[in-house]
């Protein structure tokens, strides 16, 4: 399936969803006023990908900031991965946080406790 690529902006993250390799990347800031509009194509792409996912879907989420309206949309994205896991495929969500950013680590842990998908917390230098 066609790779979904969205360039990053000051308010929205870079997105690269590669259906051929199963590598999913979201990186940057997610602080748009209308998050639903931004995340709709991501969720739709994952609906399609979920019909025939790779053996391993390797998800990399590296967000510097995200607003509360994005938080629900990110959960919607993660729930799509949960569906893929339930169907018997392997998914890992790599959640990146900067070394002094406890809030971002905690946000990852919150998601980890809500969705049934393996998470790996990865500390990165600023």
């Amino acid at each position: 399936m066609k790779t979904l690529t969205i360039e990053g902006t000051p308010k929205t993250p870079m997105v690269k969803f590669d259906g051929e390799t199963g590598k999913i990347e979201i990186k940057g800031r997610s602080i748009p006023e209308n998050s639903i509009e931004f995340y709709k194509p991501l969720v739709e792409w994952l609906d399609e990908y979920g019909k025939g996912p790779q053996k391993l879907t390797d998800v990399h989420v590296q967000l510097e900031y995200f607003n509360t309206s994005s938080s629900k949309c990110i959960l919607d994205v993660f729930k799509k991965f949960e569906t893929i896991v339930k169907a018997g495929h392997e998914v890992i969500i790599n959640w990146y946080y900067e070394e002094d950013d406890e809030d971002m680590l905690e946000a990852g842990e919150d998601y980890q406790s809500i969705v049934k998908v393996p998470f790996k917390m990865i500390e990165v230098e600023e």
Partner: protein
């Protein structure tokens, strides 16, 4: 004399304020205010990255709260905001104001009082509960914005409502970040 947000802000802006703004906001204005604030915060305190991050996060939530929920002023202008951000080595303070109709005041007061009464752990639990169970609208985060601000800052939210007329007030929120 009618209430003027500019006059109010001029007399309530701390001397150490690095950003102040009064006027109508849209998506581009929010982007500009966030970028400008971020640069000034980094310039004034490049060492304390945690404080910088929390301050920017709170600023975004507070501005978008006004963007989604403010009411019109007496002349029918929407999304009028007054904002001041003061930043020091030890902490920051954000004052933000917008118009609100009288019928919503009690709801906002109750909401903030409820948030202020919760401990850090209780805020975390409430935040997760809303995130996992509540549908969000295009307007925003299902009431998560203020909870998130309280969670990130660890301080109590201070509010004030300045009467404009019997139906309209100016809602001022003061947020301390330490």
């Amino acid at each position: 004399m009618p209430f003027d947000p500019k006059n109010w802000l001029a007399s309530n802006t701390p001397v150490n304020s690095i950003v102040s703004f009064t006027g109508q906001i849209d998506s581009d204005t929010i982007t500009r205010l966030v970028e400008e604030s971020e640069q000034k915060i980094i310039d004034s305190n490049p060492e304390n990255t945690k404080l910088c991050k929390v301050t920017i996060h709170v600023l975004v939530e507070a501005l978008q709260n006004v963007f989604h929920h403010s009411d019109n002023d007496e002349s029918g202008n929407n999304r009028i905001v007054c904002l001041s951000l003061a930043f020091e080595n030890t902490g920051a303070s954000l004052t933000i104001g917008n118009y609100i109709t009288a019928d919503k005041i009690q709801i906002v007061k109750d909401r903030i009082d409820q948030i202020n009464a919760l401990s850090k752990d209780e805020l975390k639990k409430l935040s997760k509960l809303i995130l996992s169970n509540q549908e969000f609208s295009e307007k925003g985060g299902g009431g998560l914005g203020l909870i998130d601000i309280a969670r990130k800052t660890g301080t109590k939210l201070v509010y004030n409502f300045v009467p404009i007329n019997e139906n309209l007030y100016f809602y001022i929120l003061k947020i301390t970040i330490v």
